[in-house]
């Protein structure tokens, strides 16, 4: 108990002596902790900004890919794709709510004299619209009758409506895709996912019944489809069920198809983001290292300057441990002050950057802990040698130096 009290008294004295010395060398202390400050600022800014950017990308991925799996069919020698009957097999699986094939149709889109070459046309089924009930904003969706009869109807995107029918009601008009006439029955709006989601979800400017698209393509097989899972179904379990069913359809030949989930894409994205931010943090820690060397340099100078003081304190009964802890405390506090101010500036800077990049600012406690913790470690490691040097001084020689 007595020893504990004594250590506590010494600890308090070390802190106050260290702060005194830092205050008494304001300019030098400031320049020294600048290195640490910049290092911590860089670490926090980089980690926070990178995680903000990747966070907003992955969240847009996950918002559109919850509960779906994408199947790409490369086919075998005897069977190049899946038939509508095969799709029905998949749709009837326990974990599956429905299946939506994607059959792309190449060819320009035109209305009267207005010809658009960059527009895409895609064949979908009625279920696609059931799974995305909010899509249609005018007219009707494609239905099972359209699928069964391969009708020449289409729903078109808001973009195309603006292009062809500005100010006019598009419903009932006829436009041409690859030279064939289609009657517009509905208009749809894509959700805010924008460019990224249209690539991954396969939404197009013109959506026609997939059976019609197959007929025009002169093919009776589908090579790409999306599986919508029943609610609460584990995507891993569903994936293996679908893979089993597909294996059976392809007579267990290897490499005929791939089943991928948005989650796996998200995982890949996340691990890339982690790699990127640790790489950047690694580069930023070089600044911390340089800052640490600055601290060591200052502490060595300080020890030399205060040789007499050290000798006197030893003569008055200070043990080496007390001298060492005083100097160690000084470099630790110096480094921590640098670390904490760096953290504040880093947060402010990354807040500004996130606003500038239009991504959401996420307070990253881990980054702050890393930055401040690293600076504490730097202070102790680089303060160690000078403090040890001080504690080893012989009081007789140290006093004689006066």
């Amino acid at each position: 108990m007595h020893n504990f009290g004594k250590s506590f008294i010494m600890f308090r004295e070390s802190v106050s002596m260290a702060l005194d010395n830092i205050r008494n060398n304001k300019v030098r202390s400031f320049l020294t902790l600048l290195g640490i400050m910049i290092g911590v600022m860089a670490v926090i800014t980089l980690i926070t900004t990178v995680s903000g950017v990747t966070g907003s990308i992955t969240s847009s991925f996950s918002s559109m890919g919850v509960g779906t799996l994408t199947v790409q069919v490369s086919g075998s020698d005897s069977k190049s794709g899946v038939t509508p009957e095969d799709l029905q097999v998949i749709a009837n699986l326990d974990s599956v709510d429905g299946v939506s094939p994607t059959v792309n149709l190449n060819g320009r889109v035109s209305y009267g004299k207005n010809v658009q070459t960059g527009k895409t046309t895609s064949g979908k089924n009625a279920y696609y619209f059931t799974a995305n009930p909010d899509m249609i904003v005018q007219g009707r969706a494609l239905n099972f009758t359209d699928d069964d009869n391969s009708t020449y109807v289409c729903v078109i995107s808001q973009d195309l409506v603006d292009e062809f029918f500005l100010g006019k009601n598009p419903i009932g008009e006829t436009l041409y895709v690859a030279g064939l006439p289609f009657t517009v029955v509905g208009r749809y709006e894509e959700d805010s996912g924008g460019g990224v989601s249209s690539i991954f979800m396969g939404s197009a400017d013109v959506i026609i019944p997939y059976t019609t698209a197959m007929k025009v393509n002169n093919s009776d097989e589908v090579t790409s489809f999306t599986v919508y899972l029943k609610e609460g179904v584990e995507s891993d379990a569903a994936q293996s069920e679908i893979e089993d069913a597909m294996d059976k359809l392809f007579d267990y030949e290897e490499d005929c198809f791939t089943v991928s989930s948005m989650e796996s894409i998200e995982d890949t994205m996340n691990s890339m983001a982690t790699m990127l931010s640790s790489l950047l943090a690694g580069i930023a820690s070089i600044a911390l290292l340089v800052g640490g060397i600055g601290i060591m340099n200052m502490m060595l100078t300080t020890v030399t300057e205060r040789t007499t003081e050290i000798g006197l304190k030893k003569a008055l009964g200070a043990v080496p441990g007390q001298i060492q802890s005083q100097f160690l405390m000084e470099s630790f506090l110096l480094s921590m002050i640098g670390g904490l101010t760096g953290a504040v500036f880093g947060l402010a800077l990354s807040f500004g950057l996130c606003k500038l990049l239009g991504t959401s600012f996420v307070f990253n406690g881990g980054a702050i802990l890393l930055g401040v913790g690293f600076s504490a470690v730097v202070g102790i490691i680089f303060g160690w040698a000078p403090a040890r040097k001080a504690s080893k001084l012989n009081p007789i020689d140290a006093l004689r130096a006066a």
Binding site: H2, G5, K6, I9, M10, E13, D20, N21, N24, T308, E309, L312, K313, K314, A315, L316, G317, A318, V319, P320, Q322, P395, I396, L399, A402
Partner: protein, 231 residues
Amino acid sequence: MAEDIFFRMTDIDKIYPLEGEDVHALKKVSLSLDEGEYLSVLGPSGSGKSTLMNIIGCLDTPTSGEYILQGREVEDMDELELAELRNREIGFIFQNSQLLPRLSARKNVELPLIYGGIRPKERRERAEAMLERVGLADRMDHMPNQLSGGQQQRVAIARAMVGNPSILLADEPTGALDQKTGAQIMELFQELNDEHRTVIMITHDLKIASHARRVVHIIDGEISEGGLHDA
């Protein structure tokens, strides 16, 4: 037995190895002291008096011989034990007072108590009492550079006494002072000795040494009793 002995040195040798040729700084030094004595060690520079002071002050250990202070055998103590002994038993007073320039007079006096693990409140009270004792009651919060040489030396004496040590060990305490101030400091030592404090004064100055009740001479590392004086 050793426990009852206040201060006794027996056959102390100190040898410094120097470039193959050993320097024999102290040769068979024997010295005994009772509590409350006032002793001067008189010798020219190079006589070994600094070495003797370092050993008396527990800053260094002898090469051979026996040194007992307050019943404890100092000669084979380690660094930690020596530090503790210095803190408790020795009050150092140096030629140029050696105050820490960035601490107030009071804080300077508190230093030995900090290393003795005394609580802040008690430290403050004891430091203030000591500063009053040396006549600096109105200078407690002054920084060393705001004090005269004599006042600085008084602060140093207060610092030496604050831990209530067995011995006040002064190394040329008036060396940096003018005659008048020096005389005042010597008067203070006399007063402290009258209060039954043990004083050992290391000096090369016969006039200073003659203030002590007992003088020993040290020449070439050998010590000889100089006889009694009247104060």
